[in-house]
Symmetry: D2
């Protein structure tokens, strides 16, 4: 039974605590903390977990084998560094940190430690459909991949959603996904801005993000965040001899009112619920067996930050923006494929 | 240019005249007649065709190479016999005749003539999707066929629609189709009656018609004639190693309101428009080249009547009803496969 | 943490033990037993569970809160009765018992106990697609259901598979499913036998099972157990205004070699893996919360046996066979809907 | 009966002659000519048409009501101008002419004539699926269109196929289609070149063509001309509230070998056979009724040339290339939407 301490008991933290305590196998939540101490006390009380005053204190608790960071983004760096310093595995919700510099400090700390402790919460790698897509590509049945067409659509976004977030919060999932899918880094990005969707007011929406991979694959991503009809994640990989496309959950087809209708998920919770479960279950099992985490690494977190920063610059300037990463520490060579 | 005389200028007759004069190649309508002489005069006048007082007179017109019978069902026999007597090709809308006895008289007359003159208007054999389905089966890619599941759905039927018509007017298309698809006769039928659809009031609707083919294939046909959502014709053939299903016209998919929606045709006109065009175009070309018609024969018309009669008896009695056909005249041996 | 004792550590028992110990939340396997004592010792040793000499001894173990019966069918009755006698919840793999009489003895025992202790392992009720289908029907969006078309297809079956098993082992899943889907009992069955699939040698395969529900819904089920192409479970419910069909897992579509191809599951493990997880997880949660099980009841097990027996008679005689059940004990009134 | 003279009796010319003489209604081919006089004599002899020494002579033949230009591209201008000079309707296969300057000379001549005589052979506007797509967009059901994603895939191309042809011969169909679909001109183009498909040797293939429409819609077009699996034309229009996608011909679905497979057309003939028929039938009917042609105009031919030229420049330079058209003559204002 892996004993996990959770830093941050807000919405995401509480959802992960629900998952760890009522869905997953082989794990217990033994400690919690939050900047809002009342919430932390309430959540901790309900599940019988120790409530700590600070994340650092939680990390030091001997009843904590591994740490789950669900706090506000700007605090991620400090808690991840604390866990590394304590030699404890740490699962950090995305982003790994809010600047490339902070990500690099984490890389340095983990490299100094000498083995992987960090996993970043990019959950698409654990989705059944993306995994089937990757298996189809890796099988060679469509030949070498050349292009990928993606769409990332949300029915709506909250009022505080700003233009940059289409890159940093939304398309960042595709940024991580294509790096994993193709085992290559992104070398350049462009962002094109069509006529705006009036559902989004002044927001620059939709966008067309174009990524050039180091091996020559070109990826286009439609980002539409006010498209009303549902949450729709699509992807088609174009190979030399054919293509492979994401299916998705289509449990039922209804013939009614002149139409065969297949439901679209309402939001990311519905679409990726299972991926979140698999993500943390596999992490729990890997850590419990004494191994390193197998999911997205600190290097992946850093690369996502670098591409994301370039994407924001491309959106603001209209330019093609090149990306150059630092040399990859040996520790991550295998993970990056 | 094949010169066609049309007997019956009601709704179906006018639609075929439109087809012959403005859609098809190599054909002209030179003569018309109808029990309603005013309508015949009006239609004939508009297209410059001779208007005859009777069908027999039209058949005898030297400016008529071939005859199209679109009159009221009970009159089909006499006009088909008149055409055979004149040695002229005749396309008769379904049914060939309203009794098996009448069909047999036509078989005798045609056999006496010595070659095929008659084609009956079962148009599914000319539909692109049914043809693709038959090609898939005949290719052997699913192995020997064992079963077929069909559905024949109408959004609604008019008030004069009675229970027997579900067999004689609706399922009769499946009756002809399976005989053609499997190259075998129907040897027994059953009709099961589920809970009624309240959209149809007292009507026994839907029905489940079960046909046993002479070679052991079993076919089930759902007949639903008040199902509101559209006109939907479906079929899946179960073979030893796989199945083949009818696709259909799905020109567009719309993602809207939480659903991916593909339109269903509104009625048989929309679904089979093209099949009617192909049916008559192929008939025109075959006759113009001096050959025999290649579509459903008088034998097919007789067999459909026999199965249809058995279906009505099965519906009324609840029994499994056996079908025995007369010996097939040599003339039709090839057509029946 | 619910403490479960497992009776029967053969293939199914070991798979459920894997599930309970490495997949599910809130449960531990504390005791095992098997007719093959060596296997029981080996399995028990690996997971640190007490190994009992008999099922009755296991039931009596104070470290066993609830019992999972995975032994040979003919022994189900005795272990279920033992658990009821001990007042312990018992999950029994299908069938509940091998005769209707044995099922009735279990109903009597449970009624005497006064509340539900028994759940039977019909897992389709826990499948995401069947649940979505039931939600669509229950929402009223297709109107009152009138018919259902099903297909249950296996790529192949082992040499010991006999004709009756197409009903008792294969179609029995549809028998339970339609009772749950429509909240009604099956009142009559017929079985039609088409031309045989030569892949199955002498086996009567495929079959068309027709069930009449007490409320007038008619269900047809194609059972094909040697169809080579994969494991395919399909269902379409025909309502007054439309239809609802099972979707399924289609994670990826590959365009290759002249075709858009979507994979079909290889077998029931792949298709229903998740349903088995959900089935037991929900059982664990319900029992842990001190409640009665919510899944298929002993009554459901009895009714499945009665319909299954009638199906076998229908297959052997070619007749329509009526089904009459005993009066339903009050205890189950709610569960049967 | 419209009397048509055909200039150019090569492959396309012969196919159109087959269409006009054996498929379409209300039209006869009365005259032919070709640079290869033997071929012209042979083709003309078979259908009983006058064989002319030159296109100009054919245009002047009083037995020619309308002209169909199917000759080599560089000769299109002279024959179209000859027909305009004679005041006869002329259907010109794409391209209208091989330079923008030549197109402008045709615009001037037609404007001088004062009404439309010219139709250019962009046949996608006549395809049932594109028409259904346009109806979906025009209905407003997805809101204002913002983006369109297209793919134009060929299984293979002949050895003489060069890089520019991916724009001028292949993507030119999408260029015309989007102008018609959105009723707006293309204002800028980019071409991105991913890793090459080794099936095409040195050919720059695939390409990603990006078009910016004057109203802000952005269109991306994948052009893959060696993708082996078939001929696949896809399009999805992204609106404010949803999307609409091209369906296509999918007459049959085969379940076999672990997969549900739907066939993809082998080539453009199979995919667009019907569109070619509709294109010419509608032209015949419009001209026969004494009206102007309703299909793609000389302006459309000019605009396609301008965008196509810009596309070639974009491919060669890697730049975003702006397009500026001459002022649109009043004659075409309506046609351009
Ligand atoms: Mg995440
Ligand atoms: Mg007909
Ligand atoms: Mg089960
Ligand atoms: Mg064309």
């Amino acid at each position: 039974m892996l004993k996990v301490g959770v830093i941050g008991t807000g919405m995401i933290g509480q959802d992960h605590i629900r998952r760890l305590t009522t869905v997953l196998n082989g794990v217990a939540v033994t400690a919690v903390t939050d900047v809002d101490t009342a919430v932390a006390a309430d959540v901790g009380g309900r599940i019988g977990a120790t409530v700590h005053a600070t994340g650092e204190e939680l990390v030091g608790d001997p009843a904590v084998d591994a740490v789950l960071v669900c706090s506000w983004g700007p605090t991620h760096e400090q808690y991840v560094l604390a866990a590394i310093a304590a030699g404890k595995p740490v699962f950090c919700e995305k982003p790994l940190a809010t600047t490339q510099e902070a990500c690099l400090r984490i890389l340095d700390a983990e490299a100094a430690h000498g083995s992987r402790l960090v996993q970043v919460g990019y959950m698409r790698r654990f989705d059944f459909a993306y995994r089937a897509l990757k298996m189809a590509v890796d099988s060679g049945e469509i030949g070498l991949p050349l292009m990928m067409h993606c769409a990332h659509r949300n029915a709506s976004v909250p009022p505080f959603y700003r233009g940059d977030m289409a890159i940093t919060d939304t398309a960042v999932h595709e940024i991580d996904m294509v790096r994993w899918m193709f085992g290559a880094e992104v070398s350049a990005v462009r962002v094109l801005v069509p006529r705006h969707n009036r559902n989004g007011g002044e927001l620059e929406d939709p966008l067309l993000l174009i990524m050039e991979m180091a091996d020559g694959v070109i990826v286009d991503v439609e980002v539409s965040v006010n498209i009303r009809y549902g949450y729709d994640i699509r992807g088609e990989i174009v190979g030399e001899n054919g293509t492979a496309s994401l299916g998705g959950p289509a449990p039922v087809a209804v013939r009614r009112d002149g139409r065969v209708g297949v439901p679209v998920p309402a939001d990311w919770r519905e679409r990726f619920l299972q991926a979140y479960d698999v993500e943390l279950q596999e992490w729990v099992h890997a850590i419990s067996l004494g191994g390193q985490p197998l999911g997205p690494s600190a290097w992946d977190g850093y690369a996502a930050a670098a591409v994301s920063d370039a994407g924001v610059e491309a959106l603001r300037t209209g330019n093609r923006v090149l990306i150059s990463l630092v040399d990859q520490p040996k520790l991550y060579a295998e993970a990056a494929g």
